[in-house]
């Protein structure tokens, strides 16, 4: 198994070994630079392949399991609409916390929607932070008299 150095597999292994709960594992792997790197450099299909290859390895090492969870959790940063059809199969795969991680992925799904509100008179550009429910929330005010609320 060739692992890019950017992934920092030793770090991922430690996080996996120290995790007592799936939420702990999810939270820490999601914020790990190596997992973010994986989400940026691998497609959804690549991540699923990495997950499957490692999960199905007969005599799994700690590295295999850590890589599998990392690939699974890296899906968090992908478009949920494209990931969602795969989650059912991933949930029933062989890793102990696969169902729990998939459940967390579903609950923290990234939703992209745009709402437009017209204001008059025109307002100056500004950034307002709006408390979001999950993930990031941005509000962009353009020079045009409208507000775009983008929820991520």
């Amino acid at each position: 198994m060739t692992i890019p150095p950017q992934v920092n597999i030793d770090d991922l292994c430690q996080l996996y070994l120290m995790a007592n709960t799936p939420r702990y594992l999810f939270r820490h792997l999601r914020e790990h630079d190596g997992v973010k790197w994986m989400s940026e450099h691998f497609s959804i299909e690549d991540l699923v392949t990495i997950y499957s290859d490692n999960e199905r390895t007969r005599k799994r090492s700690v590295e295999h399991v850590a890589m599998a969870y990392a690939a699974l959790i890296a899906l968090y940063y992908k478009s949920y609409e494209k990931v969602e059809p795969l989650l059912g199969a991933l949930a029933t795969s062989g890793l102990r916390w696969a169902p729990d991680v998939v459940d967390i992925l579903r609950k923290t799904a990234k939703i992209v929607s745009v709402n437009s509100i017209q204001f008059s008179p025109p307002t100056k550009p500004a950034v307002i932070s709006v408390p979001g429910t999950a993930g990031l929330t941005e509000v962009n005010l353009e020079t045009k008299p409208r507000i775009e609320i983008v929820r991520r």
Binding site: L17, M18, T21, Y24, R27, R60, V62, L95, R96
Partner: protein
């Protein structure tokens, strides 16, 4: 005589068939990917079945990871590793399951605390033998431990015994570990 032999023969045949199918089953299990969801019968005092798993999720252990962890956390000597990697049980399995299995969910721990009649203890009144749970920012009970020594006078931090995931058992100051110590809760069974 012939009838008795016939009966014995049938029983022997049935026994041999059963033995063969058991052997086949074991061979299949041992050659397949490890079973990650097998648990044991474990209940609370009220008879509630505690979900648990004796994970053998990885079959090849690498002492390198154990060594890395020790190097990272034992620089001051205040953290003592009692064992190597033991994947069968986790922290909650040590605290609430007698080291027999992994207990993985925070809501399960709340149920155990309730059913087993644990009473919450104030920090100032903590005694050896009490349990401490580590509650993360999201409410997840991400760790638990058994108190070994009362909180020290100055720092108010007890010394505890815990299991770091599927890794080693460790004795440490309660706040010197990879888990959030922002909101600890102490409990004791008093009756």
């Amino acid at each position: 005589m012939v009838r008795r032999r016939g009966r014995v023969g049938k029983r022997l045949l049935a026994f041999l068939n059963r033995a063969c199918s058991l052997i086949k089953e074991r061979r299949t299990k041992s050659s397949s990917v490890v079973d990650t969801r097998r648990g044991i019968e474990l209940q609370t005092r009220e008879g509630w079945d505690i979900p648990n798993s004796q994970s053998t999720e990885f079959s090849m252990e690498d002492e390198k990871h154990d060594a890395n962890l020790r190097r990272k956390y034992n620089q001051s000597g205040a953290v003592e590793f009692r064992t190597g990697i033991i994947p069968i049980y986790n922290c909650h399995g040590l605290t609430f399951g007698s080291r027999r299995t992994q207990i993985g969910e925070g809501n399960v721990i709340r149920k155990i605390l309730l059913d087993d009649k644990y009473v919450r203890i104030k920090h100032q009144e903590v005694l050896p033998g009490d349990v401490v749970i580590y509650v993360g920012d999201d409410g997840d009970i991400e760790h638990s431990a058994v108190v070994l020594e009362r909180p020290d006078q100055q720092l108010k931090i007890p010394r505890v015994l815990s299991k770091w995931g599927t890794g080693a058992e460790v004795t440490h100051w309660a706040n010197q570990c990879p888990y959030s110590f922002q909101s600890p809760e102490y409990y004791r069974i008093i009756k």
